[in-house]
Amino acid sequence: MRPKIQLLSPDLIGRILGEAFELLMNPGVRVGSAVVELLQSAGAEVRVAGNDRVARLPETLVRKCLASAPPDFYLYSRQGEKAVHYGDDDVHFDPGSCCVQMLDPDTLEARPSETRDLVRMVQVTEMLPQFSAQSTAVVCSDACSDSGLPVAIGDLYRLFVVLEHSDKPVVTGSFSAAGLGGMIDLLAADSGGRDKLRQRPRAVFDVCPSPPLNWSEFGSYNLLDLARTGVPAELVSMPLAGGTAPVTLAGSVTQHAAESLAGIVLHQLAGPGSPIVWGGAPAIFDMRSGGAPMGAVETAMLNMACAEVGKHLGLPTHGYLVATDSKFVDAQAGAESARSAMLGALAGINMISGAGMIESLACHSVEKLVMDAESIASAQRLVRGVEVRGTSLATAMFAQTGLSGNFLKLKETRALFRQEQYLPSPVTDRSARGSEPPSDIFTRARARVDELVSSYRKPSLPEDVLRKFKAIVDREVDREADREADRAGVVAEPSRN
């Protein structure tokens, strides 16, 4: 029996969806200009007043779109093997994204993240079986800056760095409506063409509505483009309970459902059957700091409850957990991250993003990533539950040992202990006290990072693929320069009048 926690009764799920459908009609949902025609031709009313477009989405339309959304799909490794199953109660983890700061392990200060930080994150993630997927974890402020490549193509550049250093699937996302195309091209070059990318997608793209009930121009565009290319989209609705969403957990779950349902409508109308994830990064609103406390138990509860609604609808799920509000890799970081890893796994969330992140998602730490890997492994062990191996539970082993207690020598012990126990890395201290002074977890995590990085081997990408990657980056640099010129022209125009 697989252990599972549920927070919502069937009756409450019914009420949540009932009110979510009501919200989609009144007050309705803001949408980008790109989807107005699409919605209208599907029979939805869209009121346009200047730059404000509010759509009313009737339940019948939403239900139709839900019916065309696939119940599950896979992400593939570079070698074309199934690596992540988005569906059922399968649970996977990937590092959080996308940070602009990195915790410096020497100074313990947050500093702007650079390419070397992203490479190190990717190397460590590549080496840890706890992570089924990579994420485009941090921006590279050294490469994309005022004096380097355009900051606006930072999303593309991150993906380029990750693809160059990893064979695993990638959880990513674009920074703008314009940014997505280049990223899809990069993935298509990696997969050997757009058709192959559609058949065996290697990446999923996070697309975020703005709370409350707003699918912005950028989000709307991304959903359409993803639906049309067939590259999986992951809806990341992020209500902040008490801030940008109702203060009650049930109220915020309802808002999350309404925003996600609206996203599914936009996506499925543009590409029926295209893979989409009922994801999210819901959190409570901290009533003192005004921030989003990712380590709060209520934040974990929101993620669990939102996923439950998605499971009820028969959709793949995602959540944002295993992060902390602490500024260091300390006891708070360990407690909050381990707790939410356990809870997310028990909720059967298909992809749980967030590992490695500190300071309420404002900063990343590769040392925390290896610490979190221990908690994740424990959570993965927990959800495997108590398994029965062989025909007898204990009597066959007692038949060999009698009352001697000599179980350590049994063949069964040696054959089964690796399945029964998670054997921790040296990051977890279970050693007997020796002559050397005991170390703290941060010290051990630093050593582990070094060890993983030194045993990492870079994948050997074919020369022509690398050339294609570089050509795409160059092309996007040029395109961004054109867009920049256009923007300057638009800004300059009023001054001529």
Binding site: G405, L408, K409, P426, R433, G434, S435
Partner: protein
């Protein structure tokens, strides 16, 4: 041929395969291989490798024990032959082992006994809840090089001190060295009660015992 055979012997110990080890030992004898060489160049190399692997966290206790069992199986075939030829493998030392009085937890002590034995020490295992007098009597009888006292509980750790005091009273130290071990035992406690050594696990105990026998290695803890 012998090189290949020695390699297979070594591997049978690393794999923890007693049946294979037994077969290889018999094969060696049938082919006229010197049993002492079979041990030194074949099987013993395997147990040393397994010990190193355990020490750096590559394998776990059940693997190590399986290796020790395989070693025991090979020695069971080879030892009688060595006795016949008068080429008995020279024991690294004689070790008397037991758990402290009142303590019946012997997993740790058994591990140490198995691993020390596989590493070439001669073991006299007195079992559980052993009185200081019994330790002294056995140490005298076999002219022990080392007496090892195990204690799991903080309440029975005092028994380790009693054994060391009894060894002193009977004039057995410094000729006989006293070592201690157990989950709650620390190097600080070892120093406090005047033990000659402590190790935190069975593999380090091998290094410690070798150190005390004057076989210098770079591991193990000998309190100053």
């Amino acid at each position: 041929m012998p090189d290949q055979l020695f390699g297979a012997m070594r591997q049978s110990i690393i794999d923890g395969a007693p049946d294979t080890a037994t077969e290889l030992a018999q094969q060696a004898l049938a082919n006229g291989v010197d049993p002492l060489e079979a041990v030194n160049q074949g099987f013993a190399a395997g147990i040393t490798f397994a010990g190193d692997q355990f020490g750096c966290g590559q394998i776990y206790l059940p693997d190590l024990l399986a290796s020790a069992e395989a070693m025991k199986a090979a020695m069971g075939v080879l030892e009688p032959e060595m006795l016949k030829h008068g080429s008995q493998r020279e024991a690294l030392g004689k070790v008397v082992l037991g758990t402290a009085k009142g303590d019946i937890h012997d997993i740790g002590k058994n591990l140490v006994a198995t691993i020390l034995s596989a590493s070439g020490f001669q073991i006299f295992d007195l079992g559980t809840s052993v009185t200081p007098e019994q330790f002294v009597a056995k140490a005298k009888e076999v002219d022990a090089d080392i007496v090892g006292v195990s204690a799991l509980l903080t309440t029975t750790m005092a028994g380790q001190k009693a054994v060391i005091e009894a060894l002193d009273r009977n004039g057995l130290r410094p000729r006989t060295k006293a070592i201690i071990g157990g989950a709650a035992v620390t190097s600080k406690w070892a120093a406090e009660i005047g033990a000659d050594g402590y190790s935190r696990n069975a593999i380090d105990a091998v290094e410690l015992a070798k150190n005390l026998m004057g076989k210098v290695t770079n591991k193990g803890t000998v309190p100053a």
